[in-house]
Symmetry: C2
């Protein structure tokens, strides 16, 4: 017998037919087999240029210093359920992470990508341009080795160590000490640390190629709800400002600094045409300095951003999980023990604010 | 109606029951829905160390230079069919690539990972330790920027440009000119170039962590056929020498230099206990210098290696595709137009040399 997980609005399940106000009713089968119509991967975007520094070797047969390379492309891994019942979702990971962050949790539970798929949604997991399977422009590091470029001009690489991941991302107030109510799967923290990979975004152009790549992807697949997290919090909005034609909904999760940006009235008017969901988790003010101040400032800036889009006529929802009675979540709440409960809230929002609107 | 692709030994399909000599008979459904028992990802291996150079910044709030990091872990992406009928397969990509190389081809056709999955085999796609979603140790590039390490001591990064990919990997004799019989999907070559990402393997320890990671993975999943390509040609053998308990079959595809290694008699005796398949494609001698000499030398070295394992009592198969009447294949034959035909040969070999042997 299949185990069914009832979505948050269980009372709604009692209704005999799905109505506009009751789109949250469908349960998600989390145990049975998964039936796929198709799956695979492709790249979107990317530009070619002639480059030096294709090898850092100074002797031997593999000294090859020049050639054409492609950078800025975005790796897209996709799965389409056998019977899609909802809009596709594009999931963009945060800083120091890859598309893997949406897959299985560190303790081996189902991640958001599989849950959304099982919920009838085609899922498009990307690696940000400049990260993981999307590659990065490494030529500067070779030309520095060869003495052709000054070392001090190298782009800095962000590497998130264990101590920072614990405190910055709000597992607890001090490395090794969790918040008493934490939802983080503490026993699997060593697996969590393996997720963190070098972040070379500082080497990208100011107009991050991911914005146009996400816009092009959303358009190519006929429209999608676009979801960003942390470093990519504002990527859905940036993609919409590049080309809104494929962006049907914007979901921005737990920003660092992104909401400090000031948008023009014209930009706000454009963004206001697309439903927007912002989600923040717990313990922002409890984080040790300098993180505590950063988080509280960031969340206030995002509230201001939400208000500005709302004022421009937008359909904006700001979810602060503790205000909904959900406590103890970290910055990485898609990995937390209650990750599917939060996914249910996102499902409901999409149903009510994006898909109902489609009709 | 579902379209069925018959495997190579179609005559065998006429038999009413699958017999030992007729294990090639099963057709692979390449069009119908895919039914999965489970899917997801995890990391295997990895070691922790205290490191400096976690940031290349010299000012601002994000100057964070020390901490604990994990490196050497291997990202593993897996899918288990609803009804597995064969041993799992571990697929390891080559240099400058990621696990993506086994997925969809540049022109959007089914890659080997989906084909093996549809053939009833649990598939474990990895990103080599030090690549893509497995991350890499980037601290040296930050300490060089900060003047703490000499630039000349940096590990060189291999970046494979378009011109090299075309000639080295035997699409044609000269950049832009294909071999007349090439099986490469030429119209999609721009998508092919997007697959190539920086290769930082020169920064890895001499005892590449991928060897132990692949051995541990194969053991963890209860035994697997392990497949390496190009840079990872000899990874199945290296994994078996690290811990043979999970390595049920070794498949080594298109080596560069790996077969130049000399193994001890004891090592050869160990390797001889596991069935071994080596596959080389076409146009080695036709490649422009210095590649032509390298490929022909490499193939001869691999023939010598195969002979040595065979002499030690091993069950060794050496497939040179042109000798089987299959012409025009590149180094990246898992992406070529006839990629599934070659997969069929691999299926047959596994059936006859690894799985039949199990009974």
């Amino acid at each position: 017998m299949r185990s069914m997980r009832l979505r948050a609005a269980t009372a709604c399940f009692l209704a005999l037919t799905a109505t506009a106000s009751c789109l949250a009713a469908e349960p998600v089968d989390t145990k049975g087999p998964i039936a796929l119509q198709s799956e695979g991967s492709f790249f979107i975007g990317g530009t070619d240029r002639h480059a030096t520094g294709l090898s850092g070797l100074t002797t031997g047969p593999d000294v090859t210093r020049e050639g054409t390379i492609t950078t800025g492309q975005m790796y897209v891994q996709y799965q389409v359920p056998a019977k899609p019942t909802h809009l596709p979702v594009v999931m963009i990971h945060g800083g120091g992470l890859s598309g893997q962050a949406w897959e299985t949790t560190p303790d081996g539970r189902m991640g958001w990508s599989e849950y959304f798929l099982r919920g009838g949604r085609p899922v498009y997991l990307v690696d940000q341009a400049g990260r993981a399977r999307s590659g990065f422009d490494a030529t500067q590091y070779n030309t520095i080795k060869l003495g052709e470029t000054a070392a001090k001009d190298a782009s800095p690489i962000l590497i998130i160590g264990h101590e920072f991941a614990w405190t910055w991302f709000r597992i607890g107030p001090k490395f090794g000490v969790p918040y008493p109510d934490t939802q983080f799967p503490l026993a699997a923290v060593d697996e969590f640390y393996k997720m963190w990979i070098p972040d070379l975004n500082a080497a990208l152009p100011a107009d991050n190629p991911s914005y146009a790549d996400v816009a092009a992807l959303s358009k190519r697949i006929g429209g999608a709800v676009v979801m960003g997290h942390s470093e990519s919090f504002m990527f859905p909005e940036r993609a919409a400002l590049a080309d809104a034609s494929g962006v049907k909904g914007m979901i921005s999760l737990e920003s660092g600094y992104a909401c400090a940006t000031t948008f023009t009235d014209q930009q706000l008017t454009s963004l206001a045409k697309i439903p927007l969901l912002i989600v923040f988790a717990d313990h922002h003010a409890d984080a040790p300095e300098p993180f505590g101040s950063r988080w509280t400032t960031s969340m206030q800036q995002c509230r201001d951003f939400a208000a500005a889009v709302s004022k421009a006529g937008g359909d904006v929802t700001f979810m602060h999980l503790p205000e909904l009675g959900i406590h103890g979540n970290t910055h990485m709440f898609m990995l937390d023990k209650n990750n599917l409960r939060i996914a249910d809230l996102v499902f409901d929002w999409i149903n009510k604010h994006v898909e109902h609107r489609r009709k």
